[in-house]
């Protein structure tokens, strides 16, 4: 069973090699490899999650004992994270296959989408399974470099600009991480988590707090908490829709996972708890206020993402069993729901030609399935019972109330306010994009839009799309040509970067989005087992002995 632990990292890497070798000629083979490998990773993750319920599984790569060797550890938290992330990445992969993104990549000599995506999955798995700081850093970097590639896919101007910002900020966080590793090694002589957990007790408080602060900064940059979150709305919305979905759903939660792991395992005693709580409150409020001010759907969702990261940091800051359990439940819920919302935003963009809310409208009548696919995760994230958002928020608030300190009460109030503001934001999106009647400038079916977001998106060859007719000049009822909403319509697809607005998106995309919605709904059905599992997981995290004993046993 321990032999299964490295597989979530190895299989995607192996598949990347196969995918690159297949190249652009064997596109079907590439797609098959990607889907097959991700399905295998899902299965292995579920097995690991169930097996970890009896105790952590660990593997020393090359049979080198710590501190010299790399250790991969799968405990309950890792197993749960792996399962959720692999399920979500599988759904997003199917979505992007439906979008034909990988195939129509005529700008690049090689179809790099599949390899980059698989490396991203491998990096995420490596981070979740890492048993020491250096392997965590390597997993981060694998993830980051592939995310650089995915973010700047197509090399258009705005993507390069957004990519530059993202790359530089990530580089900065990696550098701070390296300095933290240097200090840790100098102080303790190891980077292995289990050994650090033992050796940190002997160090002076100043050194441990310094390392803790540096690591929290790094993971905070990655997770986009308030002071260091400005890069996220700057860079995420310009990426292609499924790429944004994966980033928003997973990359930030990797930062939260690392925070969870280091805070509980390396720095027990919760010395920086108050700081974390204040940062969480700031993220929650400022993030959602940022979302209130937006009119572009993707930017709005990015700000909502920042805001809800605050919830998870709230749970981490409490650092008691209920807080950690609540944080883990919220992480699981938020990965799914945020990804779903971004996938739906991609569908909206296909349907309406834009994600600008002031230009959309009337979709409840013209695209009822899409409206349903939006409505369910939107209510989920707003915290409406019986969805998992409500369950997560309830768990966190209960943990705050049981904690009882003044700051915890302030945070309970803040999280209620954030939840209400999230509901406001969701209702605003619903009203503007779906409920009101269509504004006159909206593009008709079949108009070809030249948009930057969906590069390489010409799905004229995609036989699953229902194209609603040839590109016509839209007219109002007097037959006078109406110039549609600005910047949207050209009659030709010149650079191949055109997307035809379709009456119905490709069935694969709809199916993938529906699958993520169903996954989010399943958390309601599985709420009991999920809550019990996360409770056991929190217990295991806080009493660090199972982990340490498993890794350090001779």
């Amino acid at each position: 069973m321990n032999a299964l632990v490295p597989l979530p990292v190895l299989l995607p890497l192996f598949a990347t090699g196969l995918s690159l070798a297949a190249g652009i000629r064997l596109k079907r083979f590439q797609r098959f490899i990607s889907v097959a490998v991700l399905t295998a990773v899902v299965v292995i993750s579920v097995v690991l999650m169930i097996a970890a319920d009896d105790g952590p599984l660990s593997v020393h790569l090359g049979d080198f004992a710590p501190p010299l060797g790399i250790t991969l550890v799968a405990d309950r938290l890792s197993g749960l994270m792996l399962t959720v992330s692999s399920l979500v990445t599988l759904c997003v992969l199917v979505y992007s296959l439906g979008q034909g993104m990988a195939d129509k990549d005529d700008e690049t000599p090689l179809a790099v989408f599949h390899p980059a995506y698989l490396i991203l999955v491998a990096g995420i798995a490596c981070t979740f399974l890492a048993g020491d700081l250096m392997n965590l850093f390597v997993g981060f970097e694998i993830m980051l470099v592939s995310s650089f590639v995915l973010l700047t896919l197509g090399g258009t101007g705005p993507r390069i600009r957004a990519g530059s910002t993202y790359v530089i900020i990530s580089l900065l966080s990696s550098m701070i991480f390296l300095v933290a590793i240097a200090i840790t090694y100098a102080a303790t002589g190891t980077v292995n988590f289990a050994q650090l957990a033992e050796r940190f007790d002997d160090l002076s408080l100043g050194v441990t707090t310094l390392i803790q602060a540096m690591l929290l900064t790094v993971f905070g940059i990655k997770a986009a908490v308030f002071p260091v979150a400005a890069w996220l709305p700057d860079s995420y919305p310009t990426a292609p829709a499924p790429v944004t979905a994966v980033f928003a759903g997973l990359l930030t939660k990797v930062g939260v996972y690392c925070m969870l792991r280091t805070e509980t395992l390396l720095f027990p005693g919760n010395r920086l708890g108050n700081l974390l709580l204040v940062v969480a409150l700031a993220s929650m409020i400022i993030g959602i206020l940022g979302a209130v001010a937006q009119t572009d759907l993707k930017r709005l969702l990015s700000f909502t993402l920042i805001s809800h990261i605050g919830y998870m940091v709230f749970g981490i800051g409490l650092a008691d069993r209920e807080g950690i359990a609540g944080a883990i439940v919220y992480v699981v819920h938020h990965i799914t729901v945020q990804t779903t919302l971004f996938l739906v935003a991609g569908l909206i963009e296909r349907r309406g030609g834009t994600t600008e809310l002031t230009r959309l409208g009337g979709m409840a009548r013209s695209a009822p399935l899409l409206s349903l696919l939006f409505f369910v995760p939107a209510m989920n994230i707003a915290g409406i019972p019986p969805f998992s958002g409500f369950i997560g928020k309830l768990a966190l608030m209960r943990a705050g109330v049981d904690n009882g300190s003044v700051l915890a009460w302030v945070l309970v109030g803040g999280s209620t306010l954030t939840s209400l503001l999230t509901l406001y934001v969701i209702v605003k999106v619903w009203n503007l994009a779906f409920w009101r009647s269509e504004p006159p400038g909206q593009a008709a079916e079949g108009t070809v839009m030249e948009s930057q977001e969906d590069d390489a998106d010409a799905d004229d060859a995609d036989d699953e799309a229902d194209v609603g007719g040839p590109a016509v000049t839209p007219q109002d009822d007097q037959g006078i040509p109406v110039r549609p909403g600005g910047g949207q319509v050209v009659a030709t697809s010149i650079t191949g970067k055109a997307v035809t607005t379709t009456k119905r998106p490709p069935r694969t995309m709809l199916a993938a989005t529906a699958a993520t919605v169903v996954l989010g709904l399943s958390y309601t059905v599985l709420a009991g087992p999920l809550a019990a599992y996360t409770d056991r997981s929190a217990q295991e995290l806080l009493t660090r002995t199972p982990y340490i004993e498993e890794v350090l046993r001779p």
Partner: protein
């Protein structure tokens, strides 16, 4: 463990130098900063090995405890390799950015720029207001005050329109954001309307519309079309005194319904962007049909036009000479897109429209 002070000091100096470079704007300089900083950090990691020891020989046996610590060296190697990969990627991005915009500077987010511009404009406005209150209230001063206020508002509106277009721009930034150049349509103030950010929408080709699709093709097809991405308010601010561009913005973006959150995008596409064209019915700003056009008095000797983009402002990047400003003569001139003259023996073939101002084709007569 004893750590070498020289390595520590060198590492600190390198990290500091690299950190300063990381705060600059050109991507190449940022890359240099990143490389220097990682060198410093690698030195730091190397310093953590402590004192050097004998080589790890098996025979004759060397005490393993006295051998140099190998683990930080492994960590350093990993860090070097990762930095190498990131350096290569950033270099590629810098070159691509240079291809697209003629410079490798990392521009601000449109949103951030809007906020910064707004605060700057409000500061200028309040300063103007206080100056106006102190000065004599003669009509001359009043006119000047109003003119400056109008220019500031125009600048804000231009930036809002840029925002709106930036959101749904096509791939060709030159056409989307700058629109057709007023110098290309030297027919006078009416046709000079196009200058400025009001030119719309549709794929941004000057005169393209749903009915002139194919003719709009060549303008946006050049993949290395210059895209002076975020410097538009600067560019349009420059052209404001000479064309009535901002007034087009003025007339057409006012009737937008106020949207929540205060971001009023130019619902530009539905608004008249052709010079002299009556706004089509059915768009949401029908009130523009009868709105008179206001004319800013052209600057004269006593009132030099204010320079909305001082040097050193990030928007001033537009002014730097770009390779696209001096285009090489096209070796394969294609047929002129429009007005489509039949290739007769007497009509010389116009060169393929290249991104230079003199080459821009005239819009067809019905759109003037």
């Amino acid at each position: 463990m004893t750590i070498s002070l020289a390595l520590l000091v060198t590492a600190t100096v390198l990290i500091a130098v690299g950190g300063v470079l990381l705060l600059t704007r050109p991507l190449t300089r940022i890359l240099l900063g990143a490389v220097i900083t990682s060198n410093g950090i690698n030195l730091l990691l190397l310093a953590v090995t402590g004192l050097s020891g004998p080589a790890p020989l098996l025979y004759p046996g060397v005490d393993p405890a006295s051998v140099t610590d190998p683990l930080p060296q492994a960590i350093t190697l990993t860090a070097i390799v990762i930095t190498l990969a990131t350096t290569a990627f950033i270099l590629a991005m810098a070159y691509r950015s240079y291809q697209l915009t003629g410079t490798d500077e990392v521009h601000d987010d449109i949103e951030d720029r809007r906020v910064a511009l707004r605060s700057e404009v409000y500061d200028r406005r309040s300063e103007l207001r206080s100056r106006y209150r102190e000065a004599d209230r003669d009509p001359e001063v009043r006119r000047r005050y109003r003119a400056e206020r109008r220019q500031l508002s125009a600048r804000l509106r231009a930036d809002r329109a840029l925002q709106a277009r930036g959101r749904d721009a096509s791939g060709d930034l030159w056409n989307d954001i700058l629109g057709a150049d007023p110098a290309d349509y030297p027919q006078g103030p009416e046709s000079g309307e196009e200058g400025g950010p009001e030119t719309p929408g549709p794929g941004g080709n000057g005169p393209s519309g749903p009915d002139t699709g194919p003719s709009g093709a060549p303008d946006t097809s050049a993949p290395d079309e210059p895209a002076a991405a975020p410097a538009e308010p600067g560019a349009t601010g420059q052209e404001a005194p000479e064309s009535t561009g901002p007034q087009a913005t003025d007339t057409t973006t006012r009737p937008e319904p106020p949207t929540p959150g205060g971001q009023a995008p130019g619902s530009g596409g539905a608004t008249p962007s052709r010079p002299g064209e009556t706004p089509v019915p059915g768009d949401d700003s029908g009130a523009t049909a009868t709105r008179p056009r206001r004319v800013v008095p052209p600057p004269d000797a006593q009132h030099p036009p204010e320079d909305p983009v001082p040097d050193g402002h990030p928007e001033a990047v537009r002014r730097r000479p770009r390779p696209q400003d001096h285009p090489a003569p096209d070796p394969h001139p294609g047929p002129a897109p429009y007005p489509s003259t039949p290739p007769g023996p007497e009509s010389a073939r116009k060169p393929y429209p290249r991104p230079g101002r003199a080459d821009r084709p005239q819009p067809p007569g019905d759109l003037r």
